[in-house]
Chain length 234, copies 2
DNA sequence: CGGTAGCTTGATGCGAGTCAACCCATGTGG
DNA sequence: CCACATGGGTTGACTCGCATCAAGCTACCG
């Protein structure tokens, strides 16, 4: 039984925001999802570390991120943790077949989401095909990300994992070559199937090799050699 | 660059069966999917090792397994391979957002599938909400499996990986405690992020520990201690 | 009966995990 | 304002699980 890295929950316990107002002013951070608002999503805000829902809870709602970052994770009985994905602005998650959530979702930083009540898909799809289309597209996107991530977890070296992660986050958060990671080392480690020590060491090595630069807090990363990083993706 | 286990392709090169007849007699092996036939899926048969489609090919069709087994996999440039999933009777796969397939699908054994022409989801969902519902459910199921598999790949030991795999396959192929695996060691290894040697050694050890019995060909496995195997799932 | 594909077994090595300090920034209370 | 605690990150020494390399075994097939 190796590698466990259960993050110490910084979260306030379960301080669920009690279902906000429907008012939807603009939502600048959102892209393609003006539709979502029309479907009557309820806006909710979660503090850093707070839990949106836990494994085993009733799955009455699914969510779309407006701003911030959510980590979606599963735990083994002895505390080993795997973060399946980080959900950023626009991403949809928490849709289940069964009655219960099969994973936990927590806010990595202050995060705003839209919560949608789950109905029968058939009805949903029939009433608003465009939203159904968006949902299906979103599910397929999640699946594609999951498939790419399985290659990473199953077959890539630590260096390749970090390179892939950095390029992926750069693509999704992109502001030039400067990357501001919202999550800490523990989260990165649990996402990539590594330990925090290995994450740290690999990043340090990449600095030595001139691939990246690390900001003071360790959260700001400048990709100085994207080409080399890209070649490490496999 | 470790761990590569690119399987030697036994496959006949690209001998695509030329789009069969629409006749759909009963399809006993299928469960819930009588609907599928009504949607005009085209029946196709693939020989052991044959390729249904490859990464990068036009994604004009998606598929549902009628009988047999399909492996869905991705390759890194140097040949390392990850099998994302095994698709068994009833499973739907190959649905993409983009115009091209993002992974390869190959028949593990003689396999019969239904091929569906992909249209705009919106139309599809609107025309036949029940089929849309089935599709959405199927996508969510795939995603759930992928999430469970990421925990396995990222955080489980070799022994736990094998135990989980055996219990999973038993649940899907179940005929009592006797399990007839359709795939070879190479496929199992590439699915679990291991090498064939480790798969073999771990199985041998499980025999010694009295958890399983191995048939002569190595493909038939009897689960003699399901409880212990279950406890190894984490 | 020889060739080969798939599986198993053994000896050895390495990449990443484990254990343990240590650093630094931030926050808090006396 | 300083002493101290705390959380997040880095670094080093050592260990170990699984990969690698290399035979050998068995069943099947021409």
């Amino acid at each position: 039984m190796p590698a466990y890295a259960a993050s110490t929950r910084t979260a306030a316990p379960q301080a669920r925001i009690p279902a906000g107002y429907l008012a939807m002013q603009g939502s600048a951070a959102l892209g393609r999802s003006a539709l979502a608002d029309d479907r009557g999503g309820t806006r909710r805000t979660f503090a850093k570390g707070e839990e949106l829902f836990a494994e085993g809870e009733a799955a009455d709602f699914f969510y779309q991120v407006v701003s911030g970052t959510v980590r979606v994770c599963k735990l083994l009985s002895d505390g080993r943790r795997q973060i399946d994905a980080f959900q950023l602005a626009g991403d949809i998650f928490g849709l289940e077949n069964g009655a219960e959530h099969r994973f936990t979702a927590e806010a990595v930083e202050e995060t705003v989401v839209l919560a949608f009540r789950r109905g029968r898909f058939a009805n949903l799809l029939h009433d608003n095909p465009a939203f159904g289309d968006q949902l299906m597209t979103s599910m397929i996107t999640s699946l594609e990300r999951a498939q790419d991530h399985m290659v990473l977890l199953g077959r890539k070296t630590a260096q390749e994992k970090i390179a892939t992660f950095l390029m992926d986050m750069a693509g999704r958060l992109a502001k030039g070559d400067r990357l501001d990671l919202p999550m800490q080392r523990t989260d990165i480690a649990d996402h990539l199937g590594l330990t925090i020590e290995t994450v740290s060491r690999t990043l340090t090595q990449m600095v030595r090799d001139g691939l990246i630069k690390l900001g003071a807090a360790g959260r700001t990363i400048t990709l100085t050699d994207k080409l080399a990083l890209q070649q490490l993706n496999g």
